[in-house]
């Protein structure tokens, strides 16, 4: 959905999104990386299961909730990408381990 401007330079950071490798950039948040990777959505809602994508990018709306390195309910727009990070789409509510 979003593309990188050609004049901007930054160090690549390799992450995986739903198991697929993606080269993000240093300074990207997880939500920005998802948009740069062309992901149409990052979660399905807990109520009706409809698709949502990042809306505010500043920590307010909680529509960018994703699972990061196995921890669900993380706000993707508040977490910067790190080399080797695993990001998964969040489907519905967070599951709590028993």
């Amino acid at each position: 959905m979003f593309q990188r401007l050609p004049d901007a330079s930054a160090t690549p950071v390799r992450i995986s999104i739903e198991g697929e490798p993606f080269e993000a950039r240093e300074g990207d948040t997880v939500a920005a990386a998802l948009l740069a990777a062309g992901r149409d959505y990052c979660r399905t809602t807990a109520i009706s299961g409809t698709l949502r994508a990042p809306y505010c990018m500043m920590g307010v709306c909680f529509d960018c909730l994703v699972s990061i390195d196995g921890v669900a309910n993380r706000q993707g727009c508040l977490v910067r990408v790190r080399e080797g990070m695993h990001v998964e789409i969040q489907r519905g509510k967070r599951e709590v381990a028993t």
Partner: protein, 471 residues
Amino acid sequence: MNTQAIRDHYDVAIVGAGPAGLAAARVCADAGLSTVVFDEQPSPGGQIYRSVTATPFKRGTILGEDYWRGAALVAAMRASGAQYVANASVWSLTRDRELGIATGGGVQLLRARRVILCTGAIERPFPIPGWTLPGVMTAGAAQILLKSSALVPQGRVVLAGCGPLLWLLAWQYLNAGRRIDALLDTTPNENRSSVLPHLAAFLFSPYFFKGLDLLRTVRSQVNVVSGVTELRATGRGKVEEVVYRCGARAEQRLQIDTLLLHQGVAPNVNLALSAGIEHRWNDAQLCFLPTLGANADTSVEGIAIAGDGAGIAGAQSAEQRGVLAGVAAARSLKSAATVTGETQARAQIARYQRGRMFLDLFYRPAKQFRIPRGDTVVCRCEEVNARQIDEIIALGCPGPNQMKAFLRCGMGPCQGRFCGLTVTEMIAEGRGLTPQQIGYYRLRPPVKPITVAEMASLPKTAADLKAVVRV
């Protein structure tokens, strides 16, 4: 990186590292006070100077010269010796100035002799049909993607709404060589007459020439549609079309990939309200604002509010209001301290106040875009629509807190930040009362979600344990 440990006690704790927070921190630390700044974002600057220390852009390029003022503010804060804590959410603030902090690693409580809230502004809700579809975002979100990651939308992009930020984003996209398919301007035509008494002040304000130049540039390169009175986004799974109408004219449709919405910003009041700070409805800015004294002090002793969280006035004013709050804190805690800057700050605040009433009233969003009807989602988190809310109002529901009990609106993770103003205005209209009479959601800590495990990890006294033990 947060290298210093967070202490149990500070002279001054500041929440938010935008222009107000950075300036207040600098003043307090320079005066010799132990000062800490907690910020939720990964790097300082707030939203206006977002990523100013980490942006992939160089000075003199697409973002505009004003943006770079943030770099000097960050440098001054760092040089002052104030402790800066990134990725820190403040989830609780009590009337006796105990703060609950969550960093990635855990939670803790601390106390400060003075607290300055610089929590800034958030996008005003823009509840139109389809605003929850992927591909629909706020203009502020798009600007953050630009500043932090040099990302621009792919495909056909339409900007819709009203307010200075919408035009600034358009201007920045044009600088970046990003074509804009249309700008749908929802500024109500009737606003033109209500601003006339404030026109002279605006013409002599710092905003006039800058704004005029920006508007001219955008209008010369973008298809600007004025007087838009109806707006909706449609699509299956993501936005595919924006549908709009101007008054009585025929409905128009545009095929799009991205729709960027904006109709102004409103103070981020959750933390202040949870501490019991008095707020009142402001009809020009269409939001609740804290009742403040001359030194940014609130109704709760020892807690001040500076920046756009105290009323929308822009970055320059926010910075100076931060200085003022910092000076007041320094003087109250260190009577011997020679703290300067107050006179200049007051002069600058007055300068940037000139013309604000014009901007507030000119860009005051239309009622139909604040008070939705029918299937339009109001509470994005709990997926509550306008019809459901109208039905409960018709049953005689007196206010937003009772509305929660019926529909759970405002009870999702965003804690009402994207529906609070809408719900208050809907009930006010439905009951024929003012938003001041209706009030806002009652907010309680934690004002940011933390896990039960995190809460349980907090230190407990014998009395705490006794209170919950089964006998």
